[in-house]
Symmetry: C2
Subunit: 142 residues, 2 copies
């Protein structure tokens, strides 16, 4: 999660909402991403999507077997859907997101009967650090 937080800081340096993510397999980081929809002109460029695409390229496979994802913020519906498609084994996230989150909030996607893959879910990891970054970012933009 320390690596994911470092990526979130990189997003903040580029004036993007600070969220970072890494994909880990066999205790090795194989995918990295941070939120950057503005710079890339890409509404899908969330941290998780970037990290998953990066890891899938690394593995040469659209299924990330035995991979975990660590992300600083609770995933939205788009990212939770991508986590399911990628067959991620474990989802570790930092801060909960009552507004945009889709794991513990809103549609609670992995609790839906139609979801085709459900990772193990561990929330609240280094949540204070993740929240502090987000607060700092939004305060600086006022």
């Amino acid at each position: 999660m320390t690596a994911a937080l470092a990526l979130a800081r990189q997003a903040m340096d580029e004036n993007e909402v600070p969220v970072g993510a890494v994909v880990v397999k066999n205790q090795q980081i194989i995918g990295r991403g941070f939120n950057r929809p503005l710079a890339t002109h890409d509404p899908t460029a969330h941290a998780e999507i970037a990290a998953i695409r990066d890891a899938a390229q690394f593995l040469g496979n659209d299924r990330l077997q035995d991979c975990d994802i660590w992300v600083t913020l609770e995933p939205c519906a788009m990212c939770a859907g991508a986590i399911a498609h990628a067959r991620i084994k474990r989802l570790y996230f930092g801060a909960g997101d009552a507004k945009g989150g889709a794991v513990e909030h809103g549609p609670i996607l992995f609790g839906q009967s139609t979801v085709h893959h459900k990772p193990e879910i561990y929330g609240g990891i280094m949540a204070e650090e993740a929240t502090a970054l987000l607060k700092l970012f939004f305060q600086s933009r006022r």
Copy 2:
């Protein structure tokens, strides 16, 4: 929708599940995509994501203002989330998808109180053609 169906056929030619999508602005197609997670080693490479990314590159903006999306199959949670992030104005889709769909089925994403953007939704457009393609594809793989 005819253009989206042609893209779905292109997916089938590449042995991918045949789904196609186009983004339209001012009666002009500005984004195209078809489903190709296998060829691209990318679990996020659904038709809608590809078409949205294509259109966002064309516009140089992560928000697709006054744009509509036409897709041959009911979007999944990932793609419905992307449609919300992109601020798509109208969603036109072909066949419903009881298993993977997230618009009329499963989480019914745009009905959630936390969704930050809800397009106008028109389903069932040329649904027979879309369904016929999908059936043909899955029959050919048996």
